[in-house]
Symmetry: D2
Subunit: 348 residues, 4 copies
């Protein structure tokens, strides 16, 4: 038996960090050797997440680059934007594999990043990074050292749309994505808007046509379409913990039907273990992918409107964050793509 690769989770006290820790703890090929959290440094991790009692024995540490470099080979960064780029540099220089869950390495276009986020401090690293949308950019990921792990909303929108744009089945202009997310997408830092009583029995749109995931989506849709795409993207908050559902409206270029649309998805994703194309007449439900790395996709064509309605769902913390990050690691490291993320969904 060969030694397992050593993995670090930098910024382990948020929900995505916790999912990383959970998935890594059960992964057959790697072992968790470093857990960092500024807020909880020195505290046993199982006190930060009591459900992990008995599973994770480590304490949270402070991130110290030199020490970290000694302790692990693969680094997952679950840090806020900006913090990530500073942490990534020394790790990449030391020859480590880095998978970053922030937005810092998601863009090809520096200007787009800087317009929507802030000045980029390591633009050369941005150039070297690969956008980790596994099913679409797998060939690049294989050789990458630095992955910008996709945003949750973008994952749910790009996976169903890219095949249609590449095959010219839908018009690249006028696409609308009406997305709905569970509350964990907003993170674990206490805030008024994510209190139980503020969310429960409510539903709202937010950042209408202003969310920073839109340029991330546009960049990748444009690559697929071969021309500029400018999606209308409106996110909403759902009173549930996990899950994203995106309902996407796109005009079809020619008259079509559900079978043709579904076939396009099926042939594109025939070798992709985490994409489930639902049969005609069925639509996805966030509950059915909860706890898994699946993206479920259903399609309806309306001849009256010449329009396809495409509905996709993911678990925002797994396929939309930690699960896809593990999938990226699996691809980079030559593991089986499903290692550690093959859990079957619950019935309810």
């Amino acid at each position: 038996m060969t030694a397992k690769d050593r993995v670090a989770v930098i910024g382990a006290s948020g929900y995505a960090g916790a999912e990383l820790v959970r998935l890594i703890s059960s992964h057959p090929k790697v072992s968790l050797t470093l857990l960092t959290s500024r807020q909880y440094a020195g505290k046993p991790y199982e006190e930060v997440f009591p459900s992990f009692t008995g599973y994770v024995k480590q304490k949270c540490e402070l991130f110290e680059p030199e020490d970290a470099i000694k302790k692990a080979d693969i680094f997952f960064l679950a840090l806020p934007h900006k913090a990530s780029m500073r942490v990534a540099s020394p790790l990449i220089e030391a020859g480590k594999k880095v998978i970053d869950l922030s937005a810092d390495f998601r863009f090809n276009n520096l200007e787009s990043y800087e317009t929507n986020y802030q000045k980029h401090e390591v633009p050369d690293l941005l150039q070297k990074s690969v956008y980790g949308l596994c099913e679409v950019y797998k060939e690049k990921i294989i050789d990458a050292d630095l992955i910008g792990n996709p945003g949750c909303y973008p994952t749910s929108i790009l996976l169903p749309l890219i095949p249609f744009l590449k095959s010219k089945l839908i018009d690249s202009q006028g696409i609308i994505a009406d997305s709905k997310s569970g509350v964990s997408g907003a993170g674990r830092t206490p805030s008024l808007g994510t209190l139980y009583c503020e969310v429960n029995e409510g539903f709202k749109a937010y950042k209408v046509s202003e969310h920073r995931h839109a340029p991330e989506i546009d960049e990748n849709l444009s690559i697929a379409a071969g021309n500029d795409v400018n999606i209308m993207f409106v996110p909403h908050l759902v009173p549930m913990s996990r899950g994203i559902v995106s309902t996407i409206y796109a005009r079809c270029i020619n008259e079509t039907n559900e079978n043709q649309l579904l076939d396009c998805l099926k042939s594109t994703y025939s070798n992709c273990p985490f994409i489930r194309i639902l049969p005609e007449g069925r639509m996805p439900n966030a509950a059915h992918v909860r706890g898994t790395n699946f993206c479920d996709i259903g399609v309806k064509y309306s001849p009256n409107h010449g329009m396809a309605v495409i509905v996709s769902t993911i678990d925002n913390l797994i396929k939309g964050a930690a699960g896809q990050a593990i999938q990226n690691m699996n691809i980079m490291m030559g593991f089986s793509e499903t290692d550690g993320i093959e859990a079957m969904p619950f019935s309810i």
Copy 2:
């Protein structure tokens, strides 16, 4: 003090029926004199809805037309489609006021009703009925004897869209309404799809582009636009009990801005106590209208897309059912429009 008008609720065992009973019980101008339910006939109403203990002393009765005619002056029908049309006939013949919460009297166009529902047994009554969208058809409602009370989704979509169509601010073609409803919209009859464990922690689209509320919406949007409108309507199920949020996408005919759009709504609804137009930059939340007869509306204009995103919210059981029915009664009977439905929303 003059005698109060006597009111009957026919079909009082569902959620809309219960809300009618609640609102009528506190209404200053009417008194509840008849409660019917086939399923619970003979049973004290407070055993059917235990929260009403101490408020509603009546037992559920079977509906017997001759008896009912003697007992009440105003009839609310909270019955399934088809049952309503049969019950309405003898009541109208006897000179009663009837407000029907089913779809049976919502359509002007007989063919549209029969295509989407079933054969209409009293088409002449359909001709005499008025569509009870209070803020839009108030003048007709004043003189009506028979009201087809609007559907919940249509109410949430028609109120924000009609002013824009009338003032030609938006294109009547290509409108998309992505609506989200709480579970009470599906009624109180036990079914697998509305069990707690099936809904909780899930989110899904259903009847995509096939829901029977679409033709009801189209008929009224077409009247406002002066031409045929064919909306793309996709409903979703939210894990909450009450509330609808509709996110509506419409292309603007000319360049515009939020102020112009909001002004159009404000001037249209300036005398409407149940419409709240939110200030620029705010978007509605289903929680903020829960338990009330309000429709809250917010608007965002995206110059990049030349598109308005209009978000509306109502309580599906009140403005979307029982509350609007009471409002219709108030208008028909010459009461103050807000009588019995002026409750202030809760903070949470």
Copy 3:
């Protein structure tokens, strides 16, 4: 028409404060003339609680004793413990009526307060204050100037137990209260423990046998029993916004039955509009009192155990806070006891 009494809510930015504002806004005998909040001073109140849009026009102000004394006659204090005692002093000196929702004026026994909270800065005021458990201490409340409004858990436990203790139907020793509360009881200040994702799909006990409501309960049970009572009190957190259910276990002194137990409650509370004694065989549900000032009580006697199981429920923000505070005001001011708090519960 006589002028309405002027009311101030000091500390209006929490959930209890918001419920006070809501109830006062609809109260027929008083008008809201001052709203204070340190955190939101200068901000329109309807931006703090957007559901109140159109109802509450005031801005939040800073509390300035001299100014406040000019602006209002009756003061509700919805402040943290300790802040209340400091604010109450100048108001009482100025001859105002004060209803305090903190623990600062709930105790007869100074030592008990100081052991469980902190040093009391105005112990003479504590002596003059009256514990505002309306149904039990009504005679004292009529003449009071300063009310210590009861805690939410104590209200739910004292109302069902006091009649049994007074009539010697139950043993005052060995009583256990297993209480369950919705999340709003923890307040509106953001904290990890009240985030949606931390509460949702969970259930836990907390402060087991250590909660500061226990001495408040004991003091009042002891008065009723005529001897020292030391209850075992364990609170739990329920994933819902509002509501408390207390399941109380007490040994019966003699063999008895449900009828005798229910009769004791019925005769004690025969003139109390907010107590609903459920018929034999029915047990209360937090949902059935939500949004109301009711306390619902059900009783089961187990002959095998010689034990009564008493289950009570209240809305923690209303009968457990703002509603009972209004009821106290009604009693103090000679209004009808139900003024402003007679809303009927929802069906769901």
Copy 4:
């Protein structure tokens, strides 16, 4: 590689059945060869539980004893009481291993079963069956052919209490168990009481001191205590899908402390991988065991009351049903006790 044992799930359309299917599908030592459901016979199982799409290829079949005997070696019965005893007989006669999730084989005492349920049709089989509370009766389970899998509430109450009774740390008289369960315990058959809108934002006690799990608990507590135990058991319904929390009150025979109580549990369960004894000062949360086979236990001792408060939590569908059933199979078949049920809990 040896052939895997073949497993059948009889009655696979409920929640416990679905969890059995899920756990068996991922179990390393067995394979699922028969799935039966009267209601869904002929239907692909993944249409009954769409989250299983891609995992379970079988159709539901009707249960035919002769056919079933050919298809499987180990049988899980997830049937209603009474149906189970009829199905079990031919299977046991054919030499199969049977794990029954109903109450039909849980009692030693025939009279107790018949008083609380109905006439037992195969009392001799009842005599041969073993109560499958794994941590307590492991030695008997090893040799059993027929297991009566414990009820969900009993599991949550027996595991924490039995060690204290055996070691005479607590008084066997006067024990109270106040239990709270998520909604899935009520099953998947549509009923008014388990509709989303009836459960959401509510909390209630039910079957107070009348639940049929009490005699099952008493029988096993009596064995541990060596004398008759008659627990006071009150179940409650929590608005969550999964999980049970039992808060148990027991008088201590001598003065003690948390350390002594925790040590008793720790030493009893030192080799039990599914029991987590929480450190002093921590109490369990249903969320922390969701999706797992754990029973978490916390203890508080109140010197004032001479009483221990013991709080336990399980996932009612796993440790309280399907997971414990798999654990029983593992023990009977000589597999590792954790095979197929070692999943780590989620962070949220």
